[in-house]
C-alpha cells in the first residue's frame, strides 16, 4: 500500500475504532456486568484493543507523513515551501453555498463559479466576491501537527486505559467508564484531525461533554457531580468566545475550511495550484477570485500571507484565545481543572495529559497564521500564559492534595505552552507543541503514579496522612521520581528539552524585537531581504509599542524562569511528602497497603521510559555526536515545520536558518530548577522544622503580633523593660510609663485593622486558598447570576406562567356556568333538544314573517 492510500485509509479509522469500541461496550456492558465480577474485566478489552490499534495506526501515520513530507520537500525545488497536507473528505455534512450563489445579484454565470465584479465597488476581501461558502465537508486532514497529536493522544490514552483496567477493577460502572473513555478518545482524535472550524467546534464540544461525564463519573458523590458541572459551565464561557470567533472568521474570510477546495469540492492540491496560478496571471479578468474556495488555513492563502490585520484580526484571535483558555484552563477560566480531580484518577491523567486540555494549545498552534496577523493578540496569549504559569505554580506550593498539586502543575505547564505560542515565532510554536508532547508523558506518568498511591492508600490523597512510601511502593517511587525530574526540567529528561525550547523562544522573541527596532533605523535595511520582511511584518506597531513589547517579553522571560524554580520546588515537595520521611499509612488503607498490580505498574514503566527518553529522541540522538553546537537541531520541530500553517504564512519568515542551542538559557533554567529541587529536598526530606519556619515567615506572624494588645501588656515582663519601668515608677514618673503604654495601645489599635486584614491575606493563605479565585468568582459572577436567575425564575413563574394559566382558566370558567345542565337524565336532554328545535322553528317563522 503506498503512503497516500495508507493515509486515506488510516485517517478515518483512527477515530472510528475507539468509537466502535465505545458503542460495543455500551451495548453489551450492562449484560456482561450482570454476569459477575470475573466477566466484568472483559469489558475493558474492546476499548483497550481499539485504542492500541489506533495507536499503532497513528504511529504508522506519523512515519508515513514524515516520509511523504520529506519526499515533497526534496521534490520541490522552489524557494517557497508550502508544507505537506492531505485532506480526506468523507462526506458533505451541510452545503448552503448553492443558496448563496442563487441569491447573489453579482453572480453572472451559474454554471461556472466565476464572478464578475461590479464596477466602482471596493472588494477588499474574498467574501465580497459572491463565493461565500458554507460547505461543511466532513474532511480529515493529515499533516505533521495532526499526526503528532494523533500519535501522542492515542499512545497516552492506550496506557491510561490499561492502567484504568486495573485501577477501576470492581467499580460498579466499569463498562460505563470504558465506554466514556472510548468516546473521549474518539472526540479528541476527531478534534485534532478535522479540517474545518465547524467540525472543530463540534468535537470541541464533544470533548467537553465527555469530560463532564468522566469528571462526574461517580455522580452519586455530590462533589464529583458539582465538579463535572463546573467544568462544563466554565468551558461554556470559553466556547461562547470560540463560537463568536467562528462567526467572525466566516464573515471575514468567507469560509470555515482549513484547506482550499475547488468549486466542485475537490481538494486536489495540484489542480488548485493550477487554477490559482492561472487566475493570478489573468489578474485583470477576475481579479482576486480564483474559482477556488480558499480555506482559512489553506496553502493558497498562506503562501500569499493573505490575512486581515487590524482590530478584526485582534478580535478573532482574542475570542479564539478565550475558547482556548476555557479548554486549556488558562487564567480567567482555570478554576475548573483542579476541581476536576474529583473524577477517577485515570480520567485526570487522560484529561491532563492527552485529551481535553491540549485541545486549546492545539487550536492556537493550528491558527497561528491568524495570530501572526495580530501581534496584540499574540502578546495577550503570551501574557496570559506566563501569568497562569506563575499563578498556578504559586498555588501548587501549598496544596496538600497530591492530585491537586499535579492539577495546578498542569495549569502551570499549559501556561508555559501558551507563553511559547504567544511569542509568534516558529521556534515558539514548535517549542510549545514540543512541551505539549513531553508534558503528556510525564504528566500522565505523575497522575498514574498518584493513582497508584491512592489505590494503595485506600482512596486517601491528602499528603499529610501518608508518607515514606518508598519502601512500600518501589516501582511507583522510581517512576514518580522520573516524572518529577522530567517535570522540573532536569537534564537530560524530556522536560528539560521542551522547557528549554520555550525559554529559548521567549529569549529569541526579545532579540527579534531588538532586531526590528534596530532595523527601523538602519538605512540599508532594504539590502537584506529577510530583515526587511521582518521589519515590514511589524509595520503596524509604533516604535513605542515595540519597545513596550520588548519589555513585556523580557519580564515574561524572567517570570517563566521563576516559574521553573517553583515547578521544581512543588514537584519535589510533593515527592518528598509522599515517598520520604517516616512511613505513615492512613487507616483507610487497612493492612493491605501494597504495590499496585502489574497491569498498573507496566504503563507507569512505559511512561517513565518515555518521560526520560522522549526529549532526547525528539532532539535527535544522532545530533549528540556532533557536540553541543548541534543540539538545537530538533527533529521534532523539523517534523512540524512541514505543517502548512507553520511552513508558510506569517510564521515562515521566523524559521531560523541555523539552529542555535541557547546554552545560557538552558544553563540558567537548569540552575534555577536545581535550586528549587534542592530547596524542596532540604526542607522536606528530613525534619520538618525548616518548613514550619518558612511557614511562619509567610504567615507574617511577627506582623500579626503587633496587633495583639496582650503582647503589649506582656512587654513589661521582659527584663530590661521591666527594670526601666520600675525605675521610672520609683522616681515618681509613673505617668510616663502609662503615657508610653497608652501611645503603644493607640498605635496598636490603629495598626490592628490593616494587620488584621493582612492576617487574612498572608502569602501562605493566599496560596493555600488558591488566591481566593473561587470565592471571588462566587461573589462576582455566581451570586449575582443566581439572584438574576431567581428573579427570572419568579418572572417566569408568575408573569409568563401566570398569563398562560389565566388564559387557560377562562374556558373552564365559562364552562362551569353551563355545568348544571349536564344532569345525566335522558328525558332532560330530550326536552332540551325539543325546546331547541322549537326555538329554531319559532325564529324561522318570525324571520319569515318579518
Amino acid at each position: 500500500m503506498d503512503n497516500s492510500r495508507f493515509i486515506d485509509f488510516a485517517l478515518p479509522l483512527i477515530p472510528a475504532l475507539p468509537l466502535a469500541a465505545a458503542i460495543l461496550t455500551a451495548l453489551v456492558g450492562p449484560w456482561v456486568a450482570r454476569l459477575g465480577a470475573r466477566w466484568q474485566a472483559l469489558l475493558a478489552t474492546p476499548v483497550i484493543a481499539a485504542l492500541a490499534a489506533s495507536c499503532l495506526l497513528s504511529l504508522q501515520l506519523v512515519y508515513k507523513v514524515d516520509f511523504e513530507q520529506r519526499d515533497l520537500a526534496a521534490g520541490t525545488a522552489s524557494e517557497i515551501h508550502t508544507g505537506y497536507e492531505r485532506v480526506v473528505t468523507l462526506w458533505t455534512w451541510a452545503d448552503v453555498s448553492s443558496a448563496y450563489e442563487l441569491k447573489d445579484p453579482v453572480k453572472q454565470d451559474q454554471t461556472d463559479l466565476d464572478v464578475k465584479r461590479l464596477p466602482g465597488k471596493v472588494y477588499p476581501l474574498d467574501f465580497d466576491l459572491g463565493l461565500k461558502d458554507l460547505q461543511i465537508a466532513v474532511a480529515l486532514r493529515a499533516d505533521a501537527l495532526t499526526a503528532m497529536m494523533l500519535g501522542m493522544v492515542t499512545f497516552v490514552s492506550t496506557l491510561v486505559a490499561i492502567f484504568a483496567a486495573g485501577y477501576m477493577a470492581g467499580d460498579r460502572g466499569y463498562w460505563r467508564f470504558f465506554a466514556y473513555i472510548g468516546l473521549f478518545v474518539f472526540s479528541m482524535t476527531m478534534l485534532v484531525s478535522v479540517s474545518n472550524f465547524v467540525l472543530l467546534y463540534v468535537f470541541w464540544e464533544a470533548v467537553g461533554v465527555c469530560s463532564y461525564l468522566l469528571i462526574g463519573f461517580w455522580y452519586e458523590k455530590p462533589a464529583a457531580a458539582a465538579a463535572g458541572m463546573k467544568a462544563f459551565l466554565v468551558n461554556r464561557v470559553g466556547d461562547f468566545g470560540f463560537a463568536i470567533a467562528l462567526f467572525l472568521i466566516w464573515t471575514t474570510y468567507g469560509s470555515l475550511n482549513f484547506h482550499d477546495t475547488l468549486a466542485n469540492g475537490s481538494t486536489d492540491q495540484e489542480a488548485i495550484e493550477q487554477v490559482v496560478a492561472a487566475r493570478q496571471s489573468d489578474a485583470d479578468a477576475a481579479p482576486g477570485n480564483s474559482g477556488v474556495v480558499r480555506g482559512v488555513l489553506g496553502k493558497s492563502r498562506l503562501v500569499r500571507n493573505d490575512y486581515v490585520a487590524g482590530p478584526i484580526a485582534v478580535w478573532i484571535c482574542l475570542l479564539l484565545l478565550l475558547g482556548a483558555c476555557g479548554k486549556s484552563a488558562q487564567f480567567p477560566l482555570h478554576v475548573w481543572l483542579p476541581d476536576a480531580m474529583e473524577g477517577p484518577t485515570p480520567v485526570s491523567a487522560l484529561i491532563h495529559a492527552a485529551t481535553m486540555v491540549t485541545a486549546g494549545v492545539y487550536m492556537v498552534a493550528r491558527c497561528s497564521p491568524l495570530f501572526a496577523a495580530a501581534p496584540e493578540a499574540q502578546l495577550m496569549v503570551a501574557v496570559i500564559g506566563a501569568f497562569t504559569a506563575l499563578l498556578a505554580g504559586l498555588i501548587a506550593l501549598t496544596q496538600y492534595d497530591l492530585k491537586r498539586v499535579l492539577a495546578y502543575s498542569t495549569v502551570s505547564q499549559l501556561g508555559y505552552m501558551f507563553l511559547a505560542l504567544g511569542t509568534g515565532l516558529f521556534a515558539g510554536v514548535t517549542g510549545g507543541m514540543f512541551h505539549l508532547f513531553t508534558h503528556a508523558f510525564f504528566k500522565a506518568l505523575l497522575f498514574l503514579g498518584a493513582g497508584s498511591v491512592m489505590h494503595a492508600m485506600g482512596g486517601v490523597i491528602d499528603m499529610r496522612r501518608f508518607g515514606g512510601l518508598r519502601r512500600l511502593m518501589p516501582y511507583t517511587y522510581a517512576t514518580f521520581l522520573i516524572g518529577c525530574l522530567a517535570l522540573s526540567g532536569i537534564f537530560p529528561l524530556a522536560g528539560f528539552w521542551s522547557k528549554d525550547s520555550i525559554l529559548g523562544a521567549v529569549h529569541d522573541k526579545v532579540h527579534q524585537l531588538d532586531h526590528v527596532i534596530e532595523g527601523r533605523h538602519d538605512p540599508h535595511i532594504g539590502e537584506h531581504r529577510e530583515s526587511a520582511a521582518l521589519v515590514q511584518s511589524f509595520a503596524s506597531l509604533t516604535e513605542g509599542q515595540l519597545t513596550a513589547y520588548r519589555g513585556i517579553y523580557q519580564i515574561l522571560y524572567y517570570s517563566a524562569l521563576f516559574t521553573a524554580f517553583l515547578t521544581a520546588f512543588y514537584a519535589f515537595r510533593a515527592f518528598c511528602l509522599t515517598f520520604h520521611g517516616e512511613e505513615q499509612i492512613p487507616d483507610e488503607a487497612g493492612h493491605h497497603a501494597h504495590e499496585s498490580p502489574p497491569v498498573m505498574v507496566v504503563p507507569l514503566a512505559i511512561l517513565a521510559v518515555c518521560a526520560a527518553a522522549a526529549g532526547i529522541w525528539a532532539m535527535g540522538s544522532e545530533n549528540f555526536a556532533g557536540g553541543i553546537r548541534h543540539w538545537g537541531e530538533n527533529n521534532f520541530s523539523d517534523f512540524l515545520s512541514h505543517t502548512p500553517s507553520l511552513a508558510a504564512g506569517g510564521l515562515a519568515n521566523t524559521i531560523p536558518a541555523t539552529h542555535e542551542f541557547h546554552l545560557s538559557v538552558a544553563g540558567l533554567s537548569t540552575l534555577v530548577a536545581l535550586a528549587g529541587m534542592g530547596l524542596a529536598l532540604y526542607l522536606y526530606m528530613g525534619e520538618r522544622s525548616e518548613v514550619s519556619l518558612l511557614e511562619r515567615l509567610f504567615k507574617l506572624e511577627g506582623a500579626q503580633k503587633l496587633a495583639d494588645p496582650q503582647w503589649i501588656a506582656q512587654l513589661e515582663r521582659v527584663g530590661w523593660i521591666g527594670v526601666v519601668t520600675r525605675t521610672l515608677r520609683g522616681a515618681g514618673l509613673g505617668f510616663l510609663v502609662t503615657l508610653v503604654g497608652l501611645i503603644l495601645g493607640v498605635v496598636s489599635l490603629i495598626l490592628a485593622l490593616p494587620l488584621l486584614l493582612l492576617s487574612y491575606i498572608t502569602p501562605h493563605k493566599l496560596s493555600a486558598n488558591k488566591f481566593y479565585f473561587d470565592e471571588i468568582y462566587d461573589v462576582l459572577f455566581v451570586t449575582p447570576l443566581r439572584w438574576l436567575s431567581l428573579f427570572f425564575y419568579w418572572i417566569d413563574r408568575w408573569l409568563v406562567d401566570g398569563l398562560v394559566n389565566f388564559t387557560a382558566s377562562v374556558p373552564p370558567a365559562i364552562g362551569s356556568l353551563m355545568r348544571g345542565l349536564q344532569g345525566g337524565l335522558v328525558q332532560f336532554y330530550a326536552v332540551a333538544m325539543v325546546l331547541g328545535v322549537l326555538i329554531l322553528i319559532a325564529a324561522r317563522l318570525l324571520l319569515a314573517a318579518g
Binding site: 355545568r819 348544571g820 349536564q822 344532569g823 345525566g824 337524565l825 335522558v826 328525558q827 330530550a830 326536552v831 325539543v834
Partner: protein, 147 residues
C-alpha cells in the same frame, strides 16, 4: 280529492304520529316504551315524506322511507339489545336508573318517595251489622291474600 288536500291528510297523520311519539318519549320512563315512541316519531316522519313524495311525483320520498326503515330496523336491534343488557344489570327498565354520565358534583335525580300507606291507619267505613253473620271458611282465608 285534489293533491293538496291529500298532502294535508298525509301530513296531519304524520304530525299526529310524531307528536304522540314525542310526548310519549318525554313523559315515559320505561325504556321499551321510550324506544317505541321513538319508532313512532320515525313513522310520523316517514308518512309525511311519502306524502311529499307523492305531491311532487318523486320517488325520492319513498326511497328515503325505505332507507329509514332499514336504519330503524338496525337501530331496533341495537337498541333492544342495549335495553336488555341494562335491564339484566339492575332488573329495572327505568331510564332514570342510568344517570351516571352527569357532571361531577351534581346531585343525582331521585324520585320523591311516595309514603307507603299502612294498614293500621286505614279507616274503613263501618256499617251497622245487619242480618246473619256470614259463614267464613277459615281454611280458605289462610290461602287467599287480602283483597
Amino acid at each position: 280529492m285534489n293533491e293538496t288536500s291529500l298532502l294535508f291528510n298525509y301530513l296531519s297523520v304524520g304530525a299526529i304520529l310524531f307528536a304522540l311519539g314525542l310526548v310519549g318519549f318525554l313523559v315515559r320512563r320505561n325504556m321499551i316504551l321510550m324506544f317505541l315512541c321513538a319508532e313512532m316519531m320515525l313513522q310520523g316522519v316517514s308518512v309525511s315524506l311519502i306524502g311529499w313524495g307523492r305531491y311532487h311525483a318523486d320517488w325520492g320520498g319513498q326511497m328515503l322511507v325505505i332507507f329509514m326503515i332499514t336504519v330503524a330496523a338496525c337501530e331496533a336491534g341495537i337498541g333492544l339489545a342495549l335495553i336488555l343488557m341494562l335491564a339484566q344489570r339492575t332488573g329495572k327498565l327505568d331510564s332514570t336508573v342510568w344517570q351516571d354520565l352527569r357532571e361531577e358534583g351534581l346531585p343525582a335525580y331521585v324520585d320523591r318517595e311516595v309514603p307507603e300507606e299502612r294498614a293500621e291507619e286505614q279507616v274503613w267505613p263501618t256499617l251497622t251489622p245487619a242480618g246473619r253473620r256470614p259463614e267464613i271458611d277459615l281454611e280458605e282465608l289462610s290461602h287467599r291474600s287480602r283483597v
